[in-house]
Assembly symmetry: C2
Homo-oligomer: 417 residues x 2
């Protein structure tokens, strides 16, 4: 029977087109968290839910839930979804693809007249991106009452308005966050399923349309690392007398790359990035030894223990290399998010539904991580996407999207628990 029941890919294609038309600003997509761009996406998605005939609800902080009622309304439900916001000048698929997938699957079920054993709901989650309010997972974290109420004072990066006043302006209720109110009960959720474009090049390089995600890497980030030496004339100071912040930083980062290579060779999951690195433009100069650098060191792994061990190694190396180069190297504190492992049973079932099974880690964070850390069985499907994400050039074909959506639908039709 399930072979005849398909996600509605025509509906999906028309939704992507509508989203693009409504939220394209110049080359890129702007669906600003809790702003008019995100709201436009919610309006489109909600109107599709109305056409399909789903039950629609919006929670106190604006998350949209669109439910296809099941036979047993009291049974734990299955959620599908993703977020509807984007980074500034982002692409059309990051986030939205997961919501469109859920609706195309539910539309397929409805069209085939299937009434699932439990409710199947699609969530359009708010504000996953940290680009606007400098905090990720506002929508999913808020739904589970996980947010620190202090986040209400965070100001939007573009217009400077606080999250609190923004929520009020949009007709939502910041008290839900202030009181850490739980809007979603983990015990009522059987599973959370999310389709998302891959944000790296792995599937393009491997010529595969889709993959099953093993887990979402945690992140341990030295956000404010700095090296302090002494400014001096580049020609006039011999090597033993230098306090060269650039030379020390180069030596440190080079060492950390060798740690990465070593960990990889030992089979550990790890990525390591220094994405910001700079001397002080007010003080540096072409004929000066640099007295300062600032940099970020971003560690990610499926294993919290690996991140901890590599961070320890970084601290030890910073002290040792600082001494060697007669500078002070202070990595500072880390901001941490734990790794989130996907449900093994759902993973293997999904892999079995792919023509060419392939599993990979997600390096980027997703709402699925929040659901997984609430103890909810969670699974993710990645769809091939060229040019990475968070830019105007995201490129996902509807065929590849169909491969991922069909796998999720197959899982739903024969759910293991």
């Amino acid at each position: 029977m399930s072979g005849l029941i398909q996600p509605d890919l025509d509906l999906a294609a028309s939704m992507f087109e509508a989203l693009s038309q409504a939220t394209r600003r110049g080359r890129g997509i702007v669906r600003d968290s809790y702003g008019p761009g995100e709201q436009a996406a919610h309006t489109i998605v909600r109107s599709v839910a109305d056409v399909i005939g789903l039950e629609v609800a919006v929670d106190a902080i604006g998350n949209l839930t669109m439910t296809l009622p099941g036979r047993d309304r009291g049974a734990r439900r299955i959620l599908m979804g993703s977020h509807l916001d984007s980074v500034p000048q982002g692409g059309n698929f990051d986030g939205a693809a997961g919501v469109v997938a859920g609706l195309s699957i539910v539309a397929g079920l409805r069209k085939a007249g299937v009434v699932p054993p439990c409710d199947v709901a699609v969530m359009g989650i708010r504000a996953e991106e940290s680009a606007w309010f400098d905090i990720a997972y506002l929508g999913s974290g808020g739904a589970f009452g996980l947010l620190d109420p202090a986040c209400l004072s965070i100001r939007r990066s573009d217009n400077g308005r606080t999250l609190e006043s923004t929520l009020i302006e949009q007709g939502f209720d910041p008290r839900a966050i202030r009181e850490r109110r739980r809007l979603l009960d983990p015990a009522s959720i059987r599973a959370y399923l999310e389709l998302h474009i891959e944000q790296g090049p792995t599937l393009v390089e491997k010529r595969l349309p889709a993959a099953v995600v093993t887990g979402i890497r945690g992140c341990k980030r030295f956000r404010n690392a700095r090296c302090t030496g002494e400014y001096a004339h580049s020609g006039a100071v011999a090597r033993p007398y230098r306090h060269d912040a650039v030379a020390a930083t180069v030596s440190f980062l080079h060492h950390m790359e060798s740690v990465w290579v070593r960990e990889e060779a030992a089979g550990a999951d790890l990525v390591l990035t220094a994405g910001e690195l700079f001397t002080d433009p007010a003080l540096h100069g072409p004929s000066k030894i640099a007295g300062d650098t600032r940099f970020v060191l971003d560690l990610r792994s499926l294993s919290d223990a690996t991140m901890e061990a590599v961070a320890d190694e970084a601290r030890t190396a910073a002290a040792r290399i600082g001494g060697e180069y007669r500078v002070s190297m202070e990595l500072g504190g880390t901001s941490d998010s734990p790794a989130a492992i996907m449900n093994g049973q759902l993973r293997s079932r999904l892999s079995g539904l792919l023509e060419r099974p392939f599993e990979m880690a997600s390096g980027a964070g997703h709402d699925a991580a929040v659901f997984a850390t609430q103890g909810i069985p969670t699974a993710m499907v990645f769809v091939r996407n060229d040019h990475g994400s968070h830019n105007a050039d995201e490129a996902m074909s509807i065929e590849d999207f169909g491969v991922g959506a069909r796998a999720l639908m197959g899982l739903l039709m024969d759910f293991p628990f």
Copy 2:
């Protein structure tokens, strides 16, 4: 006899005090090239020359020459001097110490009634620092007709006025530069002697008051090196698929440090500095792999051949490492100034006049380099100075200054040619 004839250190101390009072702006010294700060220094120096009773002349571009007439007015003369400008918020001694040394020596000769066999003149040279007009040696280069007339269009870094209009405003004649007029005939100069503070920490570290300079390192600078990769999500791209500009730049600079260590071990004179290094603040981010870096690589040596060889090695390494990291690493062109070797006879004579002889290279450029490249026998004495130069904390004692000035005076009293 020469034991009784001494540089006038009281005069020197009072000149340093007058210069400090006239040109201190906040913590630091501001003697802006062809501006009021430099002019204030010229006025002070010139008034001292008048008191001593020297012949004073100012050339078409503002260089000041103060001459103690010798017995044979037609004989080739000996010049002493240095520049009177400073960098913004510089110190009181860089440059000025050489002019003060010359005047304190000439004052000592005059006080002792010595009439030297040839004219001995002190030069207050204009605009040695490149901080104001982005070109070094304007005064000495211009005196020998060496400047590219295009330099007249260079705008002062602070007020945006061209060198040409600035010269006119100050009452000087830009046509001398436009016509590459030679204001100073190398054939008329027996020798050029310059006292200067050391700009590095070597004499402080070695607890020596003064040193004889072997030569002035040339400089070969890759001013606009850049590495271009691809921006991507820091968590989502595995190592083999990255185009990480920071990782490639770190690998390159780390390699160049190993080249430096190797050259030093082989006995070569070399210093190597990357004093500016930065990702693009408009595009970088803590969770992004960096797609761009810019940096400067500054090579200096007493040997032009060493600089050439290390620059070749840098180009080869940039191509190789760019390939390894799947980025484009373009070092761009170099700006070059050749090394200038000091006169061997004058060097050894000066060394013999120091209680604790010590020779060292000058890593910074000095007007002496211009005189040396004109084939004029040139010598330099370095005086110990704490905290480096080009900053408000330059610290030279009058005792150490006296050690250097006495060596120069000793050389003058028993000149070898």
